[in-house]
Structures are given as structure tokens and as C-alpha cells.
Assembly symmetry: C3
Homo-oligomer: 494 residues x 3
């Protein structure tokens, strides 16, 4: 067989593997690979298959604008000439990393942070920093109401003398529960020596580790992690664009985005036809690279049509395409202005974006003009496959669902408030947690599970999920159950 | 490389894409594509990948009988000579479509309906018309009992003076809830002008739109939609044959077919090996094109063995292979004779296929001979991979499960009836909804969720789902909970 | 095109199908295939695609040690010279099979059992025999406490005179419920004649059939089945290595391994990248054949690095890599020593591995040294992709979760015990089932669903599942609900 035929065969048969060999590797990375190919073969193999191992930053910067995967205008020659290997990231900004330690002759750090990634990807880092997800730790922990809810979930309950008492959750429980996704605070507790195949070596002792939460506080003080979506050590855009990745945090009844997507027509098409899609192309061409949106297509990615016209700019501030915040809070409301939501205070003095009656706390939330702008940005993507009529009506229906689910939450709030007023339960006014009694927990489920789920189902066209699975059936049943409970409590008190 | 080699390579490397270019396109469709390739690139790209864009009806009719994908014996020459493009469907039967409007020099309609599809696919349309799914709108909305259940789910509940009142659901809520799958009634409310990239253009205003429910009432008065399964604008048989498609409506706890399939051995094999199956072949050869059935294989598709012998004829009247109706109603029962179930009346005068005691209302249901015939049709498919003993015993076990789950429902019915009789809840006899109180909602869950799920799990060999996930554990716990509630209500009344 | 090019093309284009034709087939199997290619085409096609149809045992034994898929040192020449077809398994050890019957001139048996498989795979059979899964039938049925729990789930409840009575479940219900996965007892009830396409033929009548439970009791008296994981008639290692297979039994809330895996980063990577993995290679090379573990990688498979160094030996005694038993019982505890857990007795005389207070019954459980050994075996796999610090901290966190979930179970146990003591519920001391009343069922959910799920989520890094989906939210809410119920019962009794 002639060489030409063989080359053509290779190019045709192995799409995406056309790069015949990995690119130039720095001496420092060569040293790392020397041991780690044996000690952590999975990491090394993953990296070898990655784009990081094949393209130098210098080459990456030189791509045509729409095809660029790095946003730095210029990258230092010394860094740019070799592919992005172990040493390139794990020795970057070394002085800023308290977890940096001498390892095989070099100072390396364990926790690569957004400021390291920002050397090549500064725009993405800045955008992500303005994204709620980068603040997910503080937005939970620095908000006393949310923290109280978290504690009511994670505490150990003891039973004695016909009552229960709560013992505050330990750090490991928090890391294994809410902070798994929200992000822990990773701190250097010291260093210690360990036996390794290379003899005794020094390693940092980290608390809150391991963790890949989106709002992780890193030892260098930066907020957030890139790896929940751009998984180590392949950092593949394919991974980030697949809804499975989003689902690791967005699947539970509190935020069932993936479950709703699965029963939507979009999810149906993704599941049925993804094998023929190209998840690695930049920019991402609708109809060619994919035929139905994934989470990334609607919320993050740079999308173009076959003519190369821009349909949506890439943004790692996901709220750029989100007028409403549908989830997590008592009522759906216009998106908060600041990524740091712990600064919000409502009229009642609570750190909540609405009053207990649902009225939005407007000064902390985006205005209708900004909402309209974000909606248009999102709708541009819908319009690549749907008519204007279809698209407008879809969002009108969502707005109606926001209104009705907020009303169903208000009804539940009135019932629990009556329980507080009439003294059959104790809330904030009684100096007690509003989340620790049975009727209060039912109230939480009304908004955190059922109203949220119904809105997601409406927003993403996965209605089946919003009826019986975790939606309107429970919204209505739960009210009846709360009312029954209230009436019973009042009756037996007499 | 020689041209011959290249051609062979293309043929081998691109299976299913062997059609070298799209077929002849009508002038009208060329006009549509002129703008829409830019304005809705996703739709155009989807269609370009579709069989509709590659094969003319004339060619389709000429295929050998078993390979035919169209059932019309003859197709009009003018229509048949070009591939099936935009204009072919969206201008067909124009005079019958109230949503038809002048658009770029042609009268087009938005909502392509079964009578349009029937020009090439008349047998499928007729069969589907005899299928419960095409009547899903009326079967819900024209049945006062079911409508009352739907309203109890979708109404907005208000709380005042220690009681709740229900405000009937608005049209948008219904469209976003039950009717999302059951189908809305799509009506033309008028026309309006819109700014487009081509200047101001007229478009119809549609209520109940968007919707892709299986029993949609179209503006032309026809019932049903083909697109829930044959998704626009690829209309691919691959999509329809994948269980993900069925799952968009058949996944919730009321009808968990997909969830049961997932934990069944059939689903296990589908998930593990689908990548090497051929979902596009007609007819579909067991063992060659697929090695374990999907929903379509058992319930719809034309299945043959490798020798080309018929194992099952294609039918879009899915009940052709279904002796029992397992789901949706209070008790499982023989399949209804008519697709329109709103005509059924039981002895108590209720539009239900059984009495409240479970006794079937035989005159509206198929008889044992017809049941036997349908069972045999279904079992023919089982027998391609299972022995007679295996197959018979499997269905004996299902019949046992139907009996026991009906009994567990009867027990729940007796408890709720006692509550009605003793005056601690209000049912039909008390001129109240039988679905709006707590104990009544528990009763609904007994049959709509737990008995249904247990039967599906038995029918499809996904037992894991029918025990703890949504099956017998809850069937038994729910009875205990209902009884506790009844006893408590009676006790505190004294 | 030259023949050489064609051959190369075939070899390149059809990876895994490089075996040009099926191997030598025995005369007896030829006879089977003669009819069964027509009567059960799906089975024959599945087998034809299988390795069994392509490789003779003789060839299989001759492979290099790490690549061997058979563990027999030597296989009888007569058996070894042909590929493993119908007759090779279904006529093996014929005299030991009570379901053996004369069929087309040969004695064949329906239920191929582990002792048949053991002719080529003796090590796997012995290991599996020491695995809890092979004893799953007896471990449930011979343990009066578990059997009572199963009966409380599967019984038919009747309602009369304001109380319910339980009617013990029939055999078919048990086979369709718990024993579907745990395994039925398959017995020969006689023989009968059936009409077939070949005229009347004799077949055995089997009770408890069909069944593919892991602990099935076979007609030949052997325990267990290989086919739940190595599905008939492909018996492919690819199937067994995919988590979908494990999920057929390990998905419900009682044992949500698959659901947790799905939301874990491992599951995320499997779902996103499995299409480029090689599930058929033996041994299985981390980083090359797969880039994130499936169930099999951590718990069963022979895993090596690219240099061919052993990372984990294959074991079909899955507990070889499991220090703790996290699921199924009231409290998590060190793994039982014996696969037969029905022999365990605690101080209270109950067949449980812990006291009701959670204290482990140490003489039946592995000691800390054995636990440490198993943990190291498992951690070796983690260490291929994770640092020592990461790995150790992960398991420390799991141990913390075991402790806290056991505590949350203890609290629930104290509440139900108080109900028993105070006479508002009846437990063992009152000669009643501890599983049939409402508060008792809540108690069961505390450990069987919520504590289990939380531990799985912690063990496999799928935290999202362990918080709101079926984890800590319910652990805490359930206690509050049980306490409310207890207090109410005490109050209204007065």
C-alpha cells in the first residue's frame, strides 16, 4: 500500500487524532512524566490524549479569532513554546500558592487555581468570577438563612427525653454534603513526609480536600474551580459541552436541570444522535456540529451558523443569557446583579432576594431592560430552530409558570406563617430555625423541590418532569398535607 | 489514489450516508431554503441530513414491499418527482388549513398535520388514528372524572381563613402540564405582522402553541401529531426507534415505562450495545440490526428474522400488541375497544372502564379472544430470543401481578370509601371532588403511581423498579399510611 | 483495489471483528443451530457475535497469562477443540441436571449452571461462590428478620372492620419482587409435551422460572447464576464492564449505586467518553482502555498500567476490595466473613450483624487488619489517578459519613423503640412484626434508603445524590416526621 493512501486512511479513519504526535514538551514536564507515568498512569494518559499535550499556547493564540480557545492576546514566549504539561500549570505563580512545596527539585502546588488558568484564559476567568457559581461557597456559608437551612440538613440529631437536639455538622460532613458542589475552603494545615516509590518526600496537608466544587476557596485565596466542568486532566471541551457534566451538580430535586433536559425533546435528540455530533469544534456550528442544544449550547458556548455568522458569543458568566433566577430561593425572581448574593437584604432585614410574600428586592436585582436584553440573547439561540411565534409563546408560558408557582409557594408560606403565629410551630419571630420542624420542612419542599422543578420543566420543555415526577402533583398535594397538619395541630392542642 | 478506491472508501466509511447528494428539490422548496438556511439554519441542516431530503416519494414507492417506508400505493407525479422539502409539506392541502398564510409568494401553514403526512403514509395515519394516543386530548378533557383529577393538580390554591380554595388552571398552565403530552387544541386567533430580516411579514397567531402532544387537535381539525416520535425536521426512524423518544412522555411515576426499561435486561443491552446496532434499517432484523428490543421493537416496528420471515407486522395502532391496559386508570383492565375512551360508562354512571370495585365494564373492552390474539402477536417477538416456557411463564407472572396490584388498589379504595362514608372526607356522593383531600391524594398515588409502576416492572422485566423505587414498598406503606390517617381523623373527631 | 488493501481495510475498519470467520463448530451444536437459527434467531445471532463462537477453549487456554479469559489450566481435548456452542454448555454435566430432557436426539438442560461454566472458568466460579451475591437467595429467605421485611412488602393487604390483614405473598409475587434479583429456587415440576414447528416435543416444567437473580438456586442444586452480568448469549465482557449491567439490580433507593455513579465525576466521564474506550481488552489498561473507572474497574476487573504492571487482580469475590458493608442492613458495619450471612446471630439472638444499637457483632465480621488489607487493594486503583493525600482523605470522609449516618439511624431506632415501649406500636417484644406499622416503615426508610444512599454518595463521590435526592435531607426530615408521629400518637391516646 502506498504511503499516500496510508496517510489518507489515517486521516479519515482517526478523526480528531490527526495530530501525529504530541508537541514540544518542556524539560520540567519531562521530569514530572518520568515518575508519574508509573505512579499515576491514569493522569498521564488522560493528559496525553488532551489538547493541552498537543498544542502550544503560541499556536493556540495564532488561531483565527472564532477558532481560538485561549483568550490571552499574548503569551510569554517561555511558556508559549511548549505544550501545556504538568509543570506548566503546577509550577505557575508558585510564590502565590501556600500549598507549594519542593518536589523533585521544583516548587509545585497541588491546587491549580483560576489565576493559573487565567494566564491563557483571562476572559473566561473574569467572566466566571462574575458568575454565581464562583461564589457558591460564600453565597451559602455567609448567608445566615441558607447556612441555617444547610445546618438543619447536615446536623446530627440526637433523641433524648422525647425530643431531638441538633449537633452542628463537622467539617467533613459539610464537605461531603452541600460544599461538595458549592466548594470547600481548602487550607494548608502544614506539611508532612510520606514514603513513596522515590523514598520519603514532603507533601502539604490540606483541609477541605479533595474538592471540585464550583465555588471552592483555593489556598491562594482565589474563588472557584475550572475543573468541575473542564475535568482533569483532559480539560476537554467535549466533556464540558455534554450535559452529563452539568448533571453532577444539577440533578437533585432542588435543581433538576438534567432530569428535565432528559425528558425534553432537546435531551431526546442529544441522547439519540450525539454519536454523530462533533463536540470538539470551536466555534460550534448549529445543525452541523450538533442538531439539538445541550446545556452548554444555550448557556455558555460560542455558537455560529454554517455561514460563520455569530449566533451567541461565548460567556462563562452564565447569567448573561438568564433573565430570571428560577431555583434555590423561596420565589423565582429577576437575576441578582452581583455574583455575591450574601450582600442582599430585604425589607425584613433578611438576606433574601424577595420578601416572604414574594415581592422582589429590586435594588439588588437586574431591571426589566436588562432582563429583556438577556432574554433576547437566549432567544437568538432558540431562533436557529424555532419560529418567532414559537419562541415568544414558549417564554410567555414560562412567565406564566413563574407566576403560578410563586403563588403556590405563597400559599404554603401563609400556612407555615399561620402555624408560627398560632404557636404550633416556631419560626424566626420565635427565635427558632424556620427549617427544623415537620411543617417547615414541607414548606421548604414546596419551593426548593416542587416549584423549582415545575419551573425548570417549563423553561426547558421537559413537561413530563413537572407534572407527576416532582412538579405540580406535589405542589398541590403538599399544600393539602401542610393544611391537614396545621389543622390537626390546632385541634389536638385544645 | 484511484477514484475506485476513493468511492469504495466513501461507501465503507460513511454507512447510511451513501446517497452522494440530496435529490431533486422543487422550485418552491428552493425558495424556502433561500431565506431559511440563514433564518433557521438548524431546521434546514436537520432536514438536509434527513431521508426526506434524499429520496423522492416516487423512489420510495418503488422499493420492495418489506423495505417500503411509505404506504401509499401511488403518489401524484408532481409531488413524487422531488424530494420531500419545506414546500412539499407546508403547502400541502393548503385550503384545509386555517393557519395557512401568504408567505414569500406561497400559501404555507405552520402546523403540518396527519392528513398531510397521510399523502405518503396513509396506513400509518389510519392506524395511529385508532390508537389511544391520537385521542389523548379528548380522552382527558372530555372525561369529567379525569378532568377533575387534572384540575386538582393544576389549579392555583389560595389559603384564607384556615382553608384553601382552588382557582381553575389557565390555558397556559394546562398546556405546560397535562396537555404538553396529551396535546393542546391549537387554534388560529388571527394574524399579525412582524418585523423580519425580509421586512414586515404576516403570521398567524396560534393559541395552544407550541405543542407536540400525541393527541394534539390541529387547526385543520385533525387529531394527533406525528412529530412527538418522528421529530422535526429529520423525521428519522432512528429517533422513533430509540427509547429516549418514548421517554419524553413515558417516564414519570404515572407511566414509568422508560425507567422500568432502563433497569430491565433489554434496557441494559440497549444501553451497552446500541452503538453497534442499525436503527435505520427497514425491515428491522432481530439479532442483526439489534440484539435486544427497544420500545418500538415490541410495540410498533416491522420485525423480521435474518431469512426475511415476518415476525411482527408494523403497526402504529400500538394496542395491536397489547391485551391489557396497565396504566392510568384505577384498575388494570382489558384494553378498550375504541380509541375514544370518553364514551365509556360504568354501572355507576362514571366514565371509567371498571367499577370502583375493579370489575371491568366489559361491553367497552376487548374480549378474551381478542386479548389472546394480541398476546400471541406480542409473544411472537419474545419467542425470537426466549423459549415458549420462558415466555408463557413471564406473562403468567404478569397476570398474577395485575391481580395482586388490583387487590392492593381495592384495599386503598375501601379505606378512602370508608372515609367518605364516615364523613371524614368528601367524595362524589358528597358532591365533592374525590381528588382534593389528603387521603384522596394518597389513594390516587396507590393506583396512578405504585400499582402502575409495579405492573410495568412486571411486564417489562425491570423488577428492581417495582420493589423499592416506586413499587410494592410504597403500595404497602401507603395503605398503612391511609389507614393511620383514617383512624386518626375518626379519633380526633370524637 | 488490490486484495492486500482490502484486507488491511477490513482489519482497520472492523476492529474487534478481525476474526475472519467463526471457529470449528461441533456436530452437536450444528444440529442445534439447524432448527434454532429459525426458531430463536435472536439467540443464535447473539451467540454468533460472541467470543464463545469464535475461540476454542484450547486456544483460550493457550493465551499469555494476563490475557487469559479462562482460568482452567487444562481443558479436555474433546471439549476444547470446538468453539463453545449450544451443545457445549446445554449438554454439559448432563446427569447432574434434573431438567435435562431428550431433545433432538440429545439430552439437554435448560438451566446452565455455575458448575457448567466452571469447566472453563473454575477460579471465577469459586470466587463467586464466596461472594454474598451467590447466596442472595438464602441470605434473604433463611433470615427470619429479612424474610419478615420482605413479606411486609409483598403481602396482599385486605381491609375489613377498620383494620388491615396481610395475606402472605404467593410464589409468583416473590419471584417478581425481591427474588427477581436475589434469585428464585428453580425446580423441575415434571415434563410436558408441546407442539413445535418440529412436531410434538417434551419439555420440563420449571417453577421459579424465568429468573436471572444472582443467588438463584438451580435445579442441579448449585447456587448463583453467571448470566445476570455475563448476559446470554453473548456473554460479553463488555456488557459486564458497563455500569448499566450492575444497575439492573443496584439502582433502587435501597442500593442506589448506579444513581450515585451517574452523578459522580467517574460516571460523568464514562457517559461522556465511553465511545472511545475499549471494553473488551483483557487485561484492562487504565488510561488506555478506559479513562475513568466503571463498577467493574473498582470492584472486579484485572487492571494493569500501560507497562503491563498489575494494579489489581481480577476477583469475582467482590468483597476482596470492600472493607465495609454499607447497605441493606440497619447499620453499616465491617464486611461479614462468610458469604452465608444467615448464620449470624447478635447478642439479642437476632440474625443481624449489629445490635439494635449499632454495635457490630465482631465474631462474624472481618477484623481491622483484614479491613485495612481490602482498603489498600481498593486504594491501589484510586492511586492510578489520584494522589495519596486525595485518596486517604476521601476514605477518611467516608468513614466519617459511616459514623454520622449510623448515628442518624440510631436516633430513628430510639424513636421507634420508644413507640414500642410506650405501646403506640408493636415490635418484636410485643410479638409483632417490626416492619408493618407506619412509624416502623419510616424507620426502615431511615436506614434502607436514606442512610444507605448517603453512604453510597460519599463512597463514590456522587454527593449530589446524597444531599437532596435521597440523602441527608430525608435523613433529617424523617426523624422529625417520626418524632411528630410518636408525639401525636401519645397525645391522642390520653
Amino acid at each position: 500500500m502506498k504511503p499516500l493512501i496510508l496517510s489518507i486512511l489515517v486521516l479519515i479513519l482517526l478523526p480528531g487524532r490527526a495530530v501525529p504526535a504530541n508537541g514540544p514538551i518542556s524539560e520540567a514536564t519531562e521530569t514530572c512524566l518520568g515518575c508519574h507515568a508509573l505512579s499515576t498512569p491514569g493522569i498521564v494518559a488522560d493528559w496525553k490524549n488532551s489538547r493541552h499535550s498537543k498544542v502550544t499556547p503560541k499556536e493556540a493564540v495564532a488561531k483565527p479569532p472564532l477558532e481560538r480557545r485561549v483568550s490571552a492576546e499574548k503569551i510569554d514566549e517561555a511558556l508559549g513554546k511548549n505544550v501545556v504539561g504538568c509543570a506548566e500549570c503546577h509550577t505557575l505563580n508558585s510564590g502565590k500558592h501556600p500549598d507549594s512545596f519542593e518536589h523533585g527539585g521544583t516548587n509545585v502546588h497541588v491546587v491549580v487555581s483560576p489565576q493559573d488558568c487565567a494566564v491563557c484564559h483571562p476572559v473566561e476567568r473574569t467572566q466566571y468570577d462574575q458568575n454565581l457559581m464562583s461564589r457558591a461557597h460564600g453565597n451559602l456559608v455567609k448567608n445566615p438563612v441558607y447556612l441555617n437551612l444547610a445546618d438543619s440538613v447536615n446536623s446530627i440529631q440526637k433523641f433524648d427525653k422525647m425530643r431531638t437536639t441538633l449537633q452542628a455538622p463537622d467539617e467533613e460532613t459539610n464537605a461531603d454534603s452541600c460544599l461538595f458542589c458549592h466548594g470547600t475552603e481548602v487550607k494548608v494545615k502544614g506539611f508532612r513526609n510520606r514514603e513513596t516509590s522515590q523514598g520519603e518526600m514532603k507533601f502539604p496537608i490540606l483541609s477541605g480536600w479533595p474538592n471540585q466544587g464550583t465555588g471552592r476557596i483555593n489556598p491562594d485565596g482565589t474563588l472557584g474551580a475550572c475543573t468541575p466542568c473542564h475535568t482533569r486532566h483532559g480539560f476537554s471541551i467535549e466533556t464540558a459541552r455534554k450535559p452529563y457534566t452539568c448533571s453532577t451538580c444539577h440533578k437533585g430535586p432542588d435543581v433538576p436541570a438534567y432530569k428535565v433536559y432528559e425528558v425534553s425533546k432537546h435531551g431526546n435528540l442529544f441522547s439519540s444522535h450525539q454519536k454523530s455530533w462533533d463536540f470538539n469544534k470551536v466555534p460550534w456550528t448549529v445543525g452541523k456540529d450538533y442538531t439539538a442544544p445541550t446545556c452548554a449550547a444555550c448557556h455558555v458556548s460560542l455558537v455560529v451558523n454554517e455561514g460563520g455568522d455569530m449566533i451567541a458569543e461565548r460567556s462563562h458568566k452564565m447569567s448573561d443569557r438568564l433573565p430570571w433566577r428560577l431555583m434555590g430561593l423561596i420565589y423565582a425572581h429577576p437575576y441578582p446583579k452581583s455574583a455575591d448574593t450574601s450582600i442582599i437584604k430585604n425589607k425584613a432585614g433578611l438576606p433574601l432576594p424577595t420578601e416572604l410574600t414574594g415581592e422582589p428586592v429590586t435594588q439588588y436585582l437586574i431591571d426589566s431592560k436588562e432582563m429583556e436584553k438577556r432574554l433576547k440573547t437566549l432567544q437568538n439561540i432558540c431562533l436557529t430552530c424555532h419560529s418567532s411565534e414559537w419562541t415568544e409563546n414558549h417564554f410567555k408560558r414560562l412567565e406564566n409558570t413563574i407566576r403560578t408557582t410563586n403563588e403556590m409557594t405563597l400559599t404554603a408560606t401563609k400556612i407555615v406563617s399561620t402555624a408560627w403565629e398560632k404557636g404550633v410551630a416556631k419560626g424566626l419571630a420565635q427565635k427558632d430555625s424556620p427549617f427544623n420542624e415537620y411543617i417547615e420542612k414541607k414548606w421548604v419542599e414546596q419551593w426548593l423541590f416542587y416549584a423549582n422543578s415545575t419551573r425548570f420543566a417549563s423553561a426547558m420543555g421537559g413537561a413530563d418532569y413537572g407534572v407527576f415526577a416532582e412538579g405540580r402533583w406535589y405542589l398541590s398535594k403538599n399544600i393539602q398535607e401542610m393544611l391537614d397538619h396545621l389543622q390537626l395541630m390546632l385541634k389536638i392542642r385544645k
